[in-house]
Symmetry: D2
Subunit: 147 residues, 4 copies
């Protein structure tokens, strides 16, 4: 995990602009909650349009915010002219995603010039109490951003 | 992979009812294309509301339909009074998800009484030509359905 | 992660007997270093017979001790008449495994009656300093031990 | 999967020299059985010194030969001055590894200039009959070989 030093405002702006350009995040209702060096949080309120057949938040939606949190966490450790793309991820679902809202926390395990490794979890929040519903281990590629 | 014998119509009905109850699948625009013994296909048209920042389909959305295809493929090999839940999955992204539509193909690798293993891929279809954009290896739990 | 309460001596004995019965662990030179509730450490000295082509410890050997550490960590949270088998694991290699010895640390993320999830890492130790060389996310099945 | 064209003898020689330099493979008793374009097989006879506590081949040993088969399969698709290192892999164990010998089959799913994706399985062979005991999905990095 990265030391919690100050984040370059240009990098935070880059992360926020990239997130804002993801229509899929708007569709599910996710928002970028916090951006720190090597650590990003994404929040998602429970909602009727993102559920699986039992009325809980869909595992794929949980995977979506956690992959993004891990990807943007990696993004914060890269040069400004780079982008991150997910090479792969693995997610374990620990419990049904039941709660008022879900918080995906991604953090960089190993920054890198070409490949970064990140880990994270999603917690379900109910009455202020948190319970972990999923954990992830992910690999990100660092690529030059198109000019 | 399962032999392509005839599927019990009651099992196909169970799979279709479960899929229809997933609001998240409606939200992204996915539909259940085919249900065969041990093999399920889910289709997703490209659309403006499911994209990442570069205007391609979001990896998390691709993961969502592939996880569902793997899960329902496992579902077809279980007794009628059971349900399937995803324990975990791993997905590798091979190329940007660019195409007119995406087809997720899940198939059971190893059916089981309590745990099933499934594999699958998502192809992007453009002018009738297919290109694989993601592959998955997933583990599903078989649980008794609530009465 | 499990609270660090006292471990039932019968469970520690069960873990140590199972580890001692693994000829593969003797072959590579691994030993069971510590067994606590929900957390197990396995040590492996660097040695000429467990290397890959560049003369570093083989990734597969690193995976072997980490899978075992995660498995036995899960083992400590189960009833005495159960056994653990690995359903699957994912391992990321962060750096070449260079050091005097390697310590695999597994801990239970989510204990369970039929399925447990565990996480862990391997550190390389050189002159008392540690560097993480691999991380794992694993799923274990709990099965009744044969009488 | 790669088309089965003829393999450059210099690449096969490079693969065989690299495998021969892995002391860990000698320790477990594995041998390189076949090297084709994008596809490699490694064989491992059942033996008393590579077992887990129930007397079957250790899952970590099965993972070791399958990771190597996937890695060398990727190796065959790269320029001669490159090397492959495992970024990560995920393995699912389908059945206890019981048999006279085990064959790990790796094949390239997606070759690449910097990252390659490979898949494979291990079959247990008994009286000429094969049964799949494990499947893998792996990511390899392509790196310049040291001169």
């Amino acid at each position: 995990m990265q030391p919690e030093t100050t984040l370059d405002p240009a990098i935070e702006a880059k992360v926020r602009a990239s997130f804002a350009a993801q229509s899929a995040m708007r569709t599910i209702g996710a928002r970028l909650a916090s951006v720190r060096p090597g650590a990003v949080e994404i929040e998602l309120p429970a909602a009727d349009h993102i559920n699986q057949q039992q009325g809980f938040a869909h595992g794929g939606v949980i995977g979506m915010i956690l992959d993004s949190a891990c990807g943007y966490a990696s993004f914060t450790t890269m040069p400004l002219d780079c982008e991150v793309v997910s090479i792969e991820y693995k997610i374990n679902f620990l419990r049904p995603a039941v709660g008022e809202r879900f918080v995906a926390r991604g953090r960089v395990t190993r920054p890198g010039r070409t490949v970064a490794v990140a880990q994270g979890e999603v917690v379900a929040v109910t009455n202020g109490a948190e319970q972990t519903v999923a954990v992830m281990l992910a690999t990100m590629a660092v690529v030059k951003a198109p000019a």
